[in-house]
Amino acid sequence: MTMTRDELVTKLKDVLSKQLSVEIDKITEDSLIADDLGADSLDTAEIAMEIKEVFGHDLTDEEMTQVKSVKNITDILFKATSSKSEASS
């Protein structure tokens, strides 16, 4: 079953909160991963692994370059998970 965008955002915030030790209510879609949430390159790599685990999507090198904000990740994942759902239906 496809996740709604809101469900995806909630799940993503949970991942980011745990990976970056940031309180979940301090994370918004506009939050910048590095500047606002304090992620360094190691954190970003760990987040990508956790995203693969939770959402089943392996972020490509190109997608990794686009990841600046929570919204960027949400858009990528929503597009990826929606495409998978369409393909299987």
Binding site: Q19, S21, D40, S41, A45, E46, M49
Partner: protein, 162 residues
């Protein structure tokens, strides 16, 4: 809190020598605590990771790089020349490419808590790409994983995941 609950705790004892103190009353100089972190870390690898020589050979061949990504120190009480300290090492925050080492140092004679420290270790391929914690090391790292709920009143809780 001197030991967090975990399956295993690695312990190293060390006597403080004159060259590890400063000019003020034989007090252990602050930078030695990080040095002792390093000593405990390397002893842990040599004693608790059976394949450590194989892992080191990959490092020497430039295939595996172990990076100290972060280090934190919280000094609590002085230690002095001649004191014997007990360094307890446990792991935490085990992820794909990195894990933390927690160091709790106490006075062996009095049991007094002297210092809490943390290192975050990561692994890469020397070319900027992170690689998973080496398999032979991961098993031991998991065995020494600490129960972080016991860090409730420690300053280290700022640096480790809940």
């Amino acid at each position: 809190m001197t030991v967090l609950a975990s399956t295993k705790v690695f312990i190293l004892e060390h006597k403080i020598y004159f060259n590890e103190t400063n000019a003020v009353g034989g007090v252990a100089y602050f930078s030695n605590y990080v040095k002792w972190q390093g000593m405990a870390r390397e002893e842990y690898f040599m004693q608790s990771v059976p394949a450590w020589r194989e892992i080191m050979s990959f490092v020497e061949q430039g295939k595996l790089n172990m990076v100290t990504a972060e280090e934190h120190s919280h000094f609590i009480q002085h230690a002095f020349f001649g004191d014997e300290i007990v360094i307890r090492l446990q792991t935490a925050n085990i992820k794909t490419f990195s894990f933390d080492m927690i160091f709790i140092m106490t006075n062996k004679k009095t049991g007094q808590l002297l210092y809490e420290g943390l290192q975050r270790l990561a692994f890469d391929d020397f070319k900027g790409k992170f690689i998973p914690i080496p398999g032979p090391m991961l098993e031991s790292v998991k065995d020494h994983e600490a129960d972080l709920s016991e860090l409730k009143f420690s300053k280290l809780k700022e640096y480790v995941s809940p």
